[in-house]
Symmetry: C2
Subunit: 548 residues, 2 copies
């Protein structure tokens, strides 16, 4: 785990897809130079990373991105070419010894406390407390924000879709083509999975993160066939290994079902029929067809059912259909009814249970509206709105200095919401007897922790009169030590474990806080001691004389 | 340029940051198998990549991402580990020979025509025409869309900010921390620069793409100082190399200017003063200070001017200030007036011209509103809204099959806007005598191209009665051949050349089309021949009997 520095380091970083320390804002480096030049390299600083407002008009956020931050620390090192670049980019007055300082810099003096990845978190409670020499911890800011902001945003978005869809609907992430380039797409797949999705269409994400991948065919596949005769491979082995004339069988079923379903045979697309036949021959055990290329009711459903029943004759079960346009609630009801009718008429029980996948620019509101209308969809494929987080495309995490050399720092602002809470702090989550989270509490580090069954005074951080005594049944210390002495301090959970953590953590949050529309705010508080400390400091630092 | 295949290929890809072919949707691979299994590997397909609507309620789009698509083609190859992953991910019924087919696949049979990168483009005119064996060109879809959608979106967004700000304001991209992870941030920096920004805060983008980088310090830098005595390095060499007591000099100026500016000396932050001194000592030739940590008027401006005048005494010129909160128009006017007053009083001409940088959640509407209010800002730092494209976080490029084996394909839809224009097509831009683009014209490939000074009939693609004769002064063929026989067909422009192309291409677009509010739509048209071809095909394929 110790940070190794050698000539191949840069190559190693690239190979591992690890984020490089130059992925930062230039001002971090100019600040580091000013600290170095000003002899402040040994000043000991504490930064808090937190956000001020939950995204998507919601009242919770899922914390994600920690593992990538820790990998960034493990590999933190400026390569020779980084130093060369900085040397020619910074003003010529910058002293050469600064570049020696930079090239020797590693994250070994950083101490990082964090809430475990996958925890549900709330405004103002820091997710990370980063400590160490001032220039070094300052240099980490942008990269850490980059790694956490989008990860947490998309995990939260995914959790909201999961909440809207309910636990029994399959959710698939289809957003690669609308993401912020290749890596934006990969991050989206990874963190949507953590937030509660079941899989992705993104094959590389599947390979890299071991996420289930999913997909069948596009409209282009259907459109590339134009006639009945186009299936060159007409035969398919049945489940006993005997070759059968699959095209004739499917044509027979098409004629039969067109009568049963009351669909005009001539109006069904013959190209679509051929495409379905070829797809079924390729995937007899997992046939799932896109049925809206021409017309769901007058073509796609008939052709699908004909091919699926022909598969049934050969001993195979089809998977289902995907609908990518039109009135999804209505079409899913028609499809389900059709499947049930065929199931009953031909005594094929599984036919009624075929999967119905819906896609087409679905967002959270669509899911809620479809639920209200009543639908028979089993699976949503969600792309653009999930990965771009259209409702709010950025989470505003900030990284604020709260202490230098044991002296607290406070950022004042005319906007009370923007005042920072100074000093090193611990955070606790207090639980009620029914297992639900009651309130989060920030304290100064040297205060005794709250204890179960003992009364604790929780104060609103800014409003003097808002105070409450809470008697927790359980107290959870939110921060764990993740990084010290250049080493990870505990093994990191797998992706699946983080996903489970999100699930468990969300379960501990009251339903009214999680609901998609007009949720109840969760309370975050400070101890009486911290309240006094902060407000005294505020008064000391705020100039008198401003008209209010 | 030829595609080399060897054991180190995967490593090579990673080293070059090249996008891998597994960065795609799974359905591309299942479709490829169905094509392979259905003996359609030699079917010759033509796909068009286009969008249907300009982003941001605008009437133009900047095309970007082509170079990355070409690099993707150059390196298109499934590695051994890719094949292993696919083998265990696809159903066991998939025949082993398919994986041999995949592992031998390169992009040598792809033919790619495109509009040059940086060209201003409009809805429905394909940006790319991709031809080749059906499974191969199908396999490219998602990756190419991923590479073009966000690149074009952010380049267009940047061009809109440039248009709103005017040509003389400096625009800096500050969005890394709010982008979709590391690579989202890099893409944002690159394509914002192409779209007309002057630089970025993202150091890695500067290193990789040779984009100017910019930045000074954050509020944390100021907050890390609390007293007057905190500058440990009190001395600074003047421009003649003589050491001077810089702190005393700055303190003298602070006292002097507090009287001249009517600011109460005791109310100015002493920590801020120390921070400015240390920053000026570090960067005497490029001192730019963030002046809103405590109070712009009652602290930041005074402290900045004191340190800047002390620098002046030592023979240095300061650069200016950054304001990151509050009423940016008002504060910039106050700052400019202060600078002018000092310039006049102490006869320091450059002081009146100090740069004023504004940041803080600026979007296109903010820029327009600031212009209306009147401001003295020279430079905007723009982050979140630029990189997330908050107004519209995805461009809806699609990749549609338009021809297979010389037979045209048409995607019908009840929504007329979603009908595709079938067949292989050429695109032309017709110019008026004053050099402005008049109209874009799509034709079938075998039609003679329009000629300057000759009348050409341009038809609305869908509305029969909308037709116009146009006599162009100049005709530009929009597509160039970029890739054939596994090779690039022409040298690629540098980033700076693409940026210049955006500038030139935008200049050829009429101002009313480019304006930010309620712009005039640019006209795109089809030839009479293409119109007939398309509508005949439409009638042949659309079922009769739908109630309208």
């Amino acid at each position: 785990m110790a940070v190794e520095v050698d000539g191949d380091f840069e190559q190693l970083q690239k190979q591992n897809g690890v984020v490089q320390p130059l992925l930062t804002d230039l001002y971090q480096i100019t600040m580091a130079y000013a600290y170095w030049k000003g002899d402040k390299c040994n000043d000991y600083a504490v930064f808090d990373l937190f956000f001020r407002k939950n995204p998507f008009s919601g009242e919770f956020t899922v914390f994600a991105g920690l593992e990538e931050c820790l990998k960034f620390l493990q590999n933190f090192h400026y390569s020779t070419s980084d130093i060369e670049y900085l040397r020619k980019t910074l003003p010529p007055s910058v002293e050469p010894e600064f570049f020696t300082f930079l090239s020797n810099l590693t994250a070994k003096d950083v101490v990082l406390y964090a809430v475990p990845e996958g925890t549900v978190v709330f405004p103002r409670i820091p997710l990370l407390r980063v400590e160490g020499p001032l220039p070094l911890v300052q240099l980490l800011e942008t990269t850490i924000l980059t790694l956490i902001n989008y990860a947490s945003l998309v995990a939260t978005n995914a959790a909201r879709y999961r909440h809207a869809a309910g636990p029994h609907i399959k959710l698939l992430e289809f957003g690669l083509r609308r993401a912020q380039g290749p890596d934006g797409g990969l991050s989206a797949s990874k963190y949507a999975y953590i937030g509660g999705f079941d899989g992705t269409s993104n094959v590389l994400a599947g390979k890299l993160f071991n996420i289930p991948v999913s997909g069948t065919h596009a409209h282009a596949f259907i459109m590339s066939y134009s006639t009945f005769d186009e299936s060159k491979v007409r035969r398919l082995k049945d489940s006993n290994g005997e070759e059968q004339d699959f095209v004739s069988l499917a044509l027979k079923w098409q004629a039969e079902l067109s009568k049963f379903l009351g669909v005009i045979l001539e109006e069904a697309s013959s190209g679509e029929f051929s495409a379905f036949v070829d797809y079924a021959v390729a995937f007899p055990q997992s046939f799932l067809a896109l049925i809206d290329t021409y017309d769901v009711i007058r073509s796609g459903l008939l052709n699908f059912c004909a091919v699926a029943m022909a598969l049934h004759d050969l001993g195979y079960k089809a998977l289902g259909v995907r609908i990518d346009s039109g009135d999804l609630a209505y079409l899913s009801n028609v499809a389900r009814e059709t499947f049930h009718n065929i199931s009953d008429k031909y005594n094929v029980p599984w036919f009624g249970e075929l999967m119905i996948v819906a896609s087409n620019d679905i967002n959270e509101d669509t899911v809620i509206s479809l639920n209200e209308q009543g639908h028979k969809i089993n699976c949503f494929g969600i792309g653009t709105h999930l990965v771009t987080c259209q409702k709010q495309p950025a989470l505003g995490c900030v990284y604020k200095l709260v202490e230098v050399n044991k002296l607290p720092c406070i950022k004042l602002s005319l906007d009370m919401e923007k005042v920072t809470i100074p000093g090193r702090k611990e955070a606790y989550r207090l639980y009620s007897q029914d297992g639900h989270a009651l309130i989060d509490l920030l304290q100064r580090v040297d205060e005794p922790p709250p204890e179960p069954t003992k009364r604790v005074l929780c104060r609103h951080p800014f409003q003097e009169s808002k105070r409450a005594y809470v008697i927790p049944s359980k107290v959870e210390k939110l921060y764990q030590l993740y990084w010290k002495d250049g080493k990870l301090c505990q093994p990191l959970p797998t992706l699946a474990e983080v996903r489970q953590k999100v699930f468990d953590s969300l379960r501990s949050v009251r339903p009214d806080i999680k609901r998609n529309l007009n949720p109840t705010p969760y309370k975050v508080s400070v101890s009486d001691d911290l309240y006094q400390f902060m407000h005294d400091l505020w008064l000391q630092n705020a100039p008198i004389g401003e008209l209010f």
